[in-house]
Every structure is written in structure tokens, then in C-alpha cells.
């Protein structure tokens, strides 16, 4: 009699768990198809694993880092080596040319805060030292104000913290902002520098700049 009573109590206690298991199993089976359909969208919508919270209109998660780029490296160099990938917001290079009045700091990634500090390299383009198109842009009224002074045949050097890369201006370019011809990846090693074309009043749709071919590359050994 006591055993029967005990088993009855056990059944009462276990029944909610049984119902829970049944319901969970039904939901799991029913959710497979919708989950497969939605998982990509959910993945994209909630892809910020750092869970950064924006405040005061400042780009969230932007950690600006300035580096001292050595432009007088004198230790041995090699013709091949590996690049050091910067973090978004990190200054990783300087652009120098005899045709430009001063050297220009280059940050990895593009945002309005970074454009105030120097030129920006699109993180979707190739980093100098690797094969492809390295695309760098800056504002026309600040860092690329003298881009017009670059002529075909001029030498442009990109110093980074892992090597320096010498380019020669091969083409002066002008294109509409929605024309991707000059900023898409290329098979050869090239550097594309561009800025907005100065216009009187209103936003301009035109961009101007230079395309440079790689002539020499040196990787630091130390």
C-alpha cells in the first residue's frame, strides 16, 4: 500500500518533466526548418560578439591607436616576408613622396573619426606587401589636399611597421563615386590613392587620385 502511494507521488513529480521533455522535443522538431531559414539573418543581425554599446554618436568599438612608424630603418631587409595585420583603427603606415609636402599617417579601416586623423585604408582592400590593390583615401581639404601634385612617374613610399614598399605613379584617375573600377581587387600589386574632387557647394560625385605600380618591396628582419 505504501509502495503504491510512493509510486503515485513519484509519478506526480515526474509528470511535469515528462510533459516538458515532450514539448521541448516537439518544439525542436518544428523549429528545424524555420531555424535553418532564419539562422543566416540572425547571424548577420547579431554578429557583434564584442557587444559594444554606442554612446554620444561615437562609432562603437573603435579603438584608435597611433604608432611610431620607423621611416629610417637601417637594419637588414629581405625581399619577401610577412605582413603584420593591424587592428581596425590602428595607424599602421605612413605615405611619403617628394611631391607631397609632408608624410601622411594611414589608419586601417574607414570611419569619420579616423578621417580626421589621417588617410584611411579600406579593410576590404589588400594590405601593402601582399599582392593586390591597396586602396587608401583621405579628405581633400586635409591630408590629400596636395594629391594633384603627384605626377606620372613620381615615387610614393609606404612605410609600415613590417617593411617599406616603393610605388611609382602610373595613372592619374577621375571617377564617379559609384564606379568601383579603381577600388576593386586587382591581380597585380598596386596602390590606389584617391579623394573627393573639389567642387563649389554641395556634395560632389566625382573622385580623383592616382594609381601606383609596385616597384620595390622590403620587409624588415627585426
Amino acid at each position: 500500500m505504501a509502495d503504491k502511494k510512493r509510486s503515485g507521488v513519484v509519478i506526480y513529480i515526474l509528470t511535469p518533466f515528462l510533459v516538458l521533455i515532450l514539448c521541448t522535443a516537439i518544439i525542436a522538431v518544428a523549429a528545424i526548418k524555420p531555424y535553418n531559414k532564419l539562422s543566416t539573418y540572425i547571424g548577420i543581425a547579431f554578429m557583434d560578439n564584442l557587444k559594444t554599446i554606442p554612446s554620444n554618436g561615437i562609432t562603437a568599438g573603435l579603438h584608435i591607436k597611433d604608432n611610431n612608424i620607423d621611416v629610417d630603418y637601417s637594419a637588414p631587409t629581405t625581399d619577401s616576408g610577412s605582413v603584420v595585420w593591424p587592428e581596425f583603427g590602428e595607424q599602421f603606415a605612413v605615405i611619403r613622396s617628394d611631391s607631397l609636402p609632408s608624410s601622411i599617417p594611414v589608419y586601417w579601416g574607414s570611419s569619420s573619426e579616423l578621417f580626421k586623423r589621417g588617410a584611411c585604408q579600406s579593410s576590404s582592400s589588400t594590405i601593402p606587401g601582399e599582392n593586390g590593390n591597396a586602396v587608401i583615401s583621405a579628405h581633400v581639404d586635409t591630408f590629400f589636399a596636395d594629391i594633384d601634385k603627384l605626377k606620372v612617374g613620381d615615387k610614393v613610399v609606404i612605410n609600415t611597421n613590417y617593411g617599406y614598399f616603393t610605388y611609382e605613379v602610373s595613372e592619374l584617375i577621375e571617377f564617379k563615386k559609384d564606379n568601383k573600377k579603381y577600388i576593386i581587387p586587382s591581380d597585380d600589386s598596386r596602390l590606389t590613392l584617391y579623394t573627393c574632387k573639389t567642387d563649389v557647394l554641395g556634395a560632389t560625385d566625382m573622385r580623383k587620385g592616382v594609381v601606383c605600380k609596385l616597384t620595390d618591396k622590403k620587409f624588415y628582419t627585426k
Binding site: G8, I11, Y12, T15, P16, L18, V19, L20, L22, C23, T24, I26, I27, I44, A45, F46, M47, D48, N49, L50, K51, T52, I53, P54, S55, N56, G57, T59, A60, G61, S112, F115, H139, V140, D141, T142, C196, D199, V200, L201, G202, A203, T204
Partner: protein, 296 residues
């Protein structure tokens, strides 16, 4: 319960009741949050008007480099009150579209007359001071500056991104679910369904009616657990903070909405679970007192 032939039907009814209760909670939460009034509350609570103002100021400051138009030309015609009204208009247009199946287009047309007039004056003054000819190029530039300003302001004040959702065709799908979830027919159907399930449970427990409470409590506890576990996970991990759009006003509007819904669901399920525990206690007390009466 004592009769084993009533156990299996009661388990099946309990499973059905769990899904009906989950549906009830979801519909109730949806009705509570998917409306214009709640969206306006979020705007007020987080002072989104000043955040939009800051974002627009920053946007137009950044654009000075390429447009040559100082940001104050735009911003002097954009007050926090105007932004608040424009945000409300965007929300109203969005919720009107979501709750009206006869509308085919989403219309969000704020009054840009003050911005336009400010740009007109600036362009005109500039032309006069610099001897710039007011020809068709001038008119095109002015028109383009106005269009760009309109688009930027619309983008920043459309805090729930109704316009983007509409242009991507998502808003129409959302409307289908909104109309369904907010339909009085659905509420009646859910209540009728619950009533039928309660009645059937009572029927199967007619020899020991107090056990009806046990099955109802079981269903409530299980449905609460199914909702509570993911909600607690979402809240504990701050899951919605990983939302990819980091424009402050949109991020705050979206995450506030989601966390409010999660908090609401957690509170609702805790209340329901407490009620279920009381039902179980009543069931135990009554069955014990019944047994002691029989034994006496």
C-alpha cells in the same frame, strides 16, 4: 490520476495546453509592445530626440569636408522638438502600415520646409557673395543638397528602420503576423481553446476534480519553463547588445524594445509559475484532507 486510463489523455491535453499558453503569452506580449504608444514611450524614456540631434550634428559636421555647407545651416532649422515630431511621424506611418491591411504603401514624409529654406538662403547668399551664376547647374546643386539632407534626416529619424524594412519587402511580412497577433479573433480563439482544454481535463478528472488543478499547474509550469529559459539566457548574456546596427538611436530603440519584451515575458512567467505553485499546493492540501476524511 488513480485511474491509469485517464493519465495518457491528461498528458496529451497538458501538452496541448502548454502550446496554447505559449501562444497566449506570445500574443499578449506582441499586443503589449507592437504599438505606436509603446514606441513613443521608448523615445521619451531614452531621450532619442537629443541623440538623433547629436548624430545629425556629427553627420553634417563630417560632410562639411565634401559639401562645403556648414552644419549649422542644417542644424539651425532642426530643433529637438522637430526631431521628436518627425520620429513620431515615422513611427505613426510605420504602425499605420502594420495595422492596416488595405494600405499598399508606406509613407513617411516629414515637413522639410525649414531645412529647405535654410539651404535656399545659404546657396543664394553664397551665389551673391561669390558672383556664382544661378543657372541650371546651381539649381541642380541646390536640389541635390536638399535631397541629400532629406534622405539623411529621414534615415536618422526612422528609428525602427520602417523605411528599410518596407523597401526590402520585410514590412509586409511583419504586417501579416501583426494583423494575426493583434486580431481579436485570435484572442477569442485562444481563450476558447484554453476553455475547451480545461473542460476536457476536468472531464477526465471528474472522479477526482481537484487533479484538474494539478494538470493546469503542470501545463503552466512547463510553458513558463519553455519561455523563461531562453529569456533568462538572452538577458544574462546581453544578447541583443550584439545587434549590428550601432547608430545610437536605432541601437537604443531596438535593444530597449527587445529587453523590455524579455523582461515582460520573464515577469509574466514568474507570476504564472507562482500561481501554478499555489495551485499545486491547493491540490496537495485538498487531496490530503480528502484522504484523512476517508481514513477517519
Amino acid at each position: 490520476m488513480k485511474k491509469s486510463n485517464s493519465y495518457l489523455p491528461c498528458v496529451i491535453l497538458s501538452v496541448l495546453m502548454v502550446f496554447t499558453l505559449i501562444g497566449t503569452s506570445a500574443a499578449f506580449t506582441f499586443q503589449h509592445f507592437m504599438n505606436y504608444d509603446y514606441a513613443v514611450t521608448i523615445c521619451k524614456q531614452h531621450q532619442l530626440d537629443s541623440k538623433v540631434n547629436q548624430s545629425l550634428q556629427k553627420y553634417f559636421d563630417d560632410k562639411v569636408n565634401t559639401t562645403g555647407i556648414p552644419s549649422d545651416i542644417y542644424m539651425k532649422s532642426i530643433s529637438n522638438q522637430w526631431i521628436d515630431d518627425t520620429m513620431k511621424l515615422s513611427l505613426k506611418s510605420g504602425f499605420d502600415f502594420l495595422t492596416n491591411k488595405n494600405t499598399d504603401s508606406y509613407n513617411f514624409n516629414p515637413d522639410f520646409s525649414a531645412v529647405d529654406s535654410s539651404l535656399d538662403s545659404f546657396f543664394s547668399d553664397y551665389a551673391e557673395k561669390n558672383g556664382y551664376q544661378k543657372d541650371s547647374v546651381f539649381e541642380n546643386k541646390l536640389d541635390s543638397a536638399k535631397q541629400n539632407a532629406h534622405q539623411a534626416i529621414k534615415d536618422y529619424t526612422d528609428i525602427l528602420k520602417f523605411n528599410t524594412l518596407y523597401s526590402e519587402g520585410v514590412l509586409k511580412s511583419v504586417r501579416t503576423y501583426t494583423l494575426l497577433a493583434t486580431s481579436p479573433i485570435l484572442s477569442i480563439a485562444i481563450l476558447a481553446c484554453l476553455a475547451i482544454l480545461f473542460a476536457l481535463t476536468l472531464l477526465f478528472c471528474r472522479k477526482n476534480k481537484i487533479f484538474t488543478l494539478y494538470w493546469i499547474a503542470t501545463s503552466i509550469l512547463v510553458s513558463s519553463a519553455i519561455i523563461l529559459i531562453p529569456c533568462i539566457y538572452l538577458k544574462a548574456t546581453n544578447y541583443f547588445d550584439s545587434f549590428v546596427i550601432k547608430q545610437e538611436q536605432i541601437f537604443i530603440a531596438f535593444t530597449s524594445y527587445m529587453y523590455s519584451a524579455v523582461n515582460f515575458l520573464i515577469t509574466l512567467q514568474i507570476i504564472l509559475s507562482a500561481a501554478a505553485v499555489i495551485m499545486l499546493a491547493v491540490c496537495v492540501i485538498f487531496s490530503k484532507s480528502k484522504k484523512s476524511t476517508v481514513n477517519a
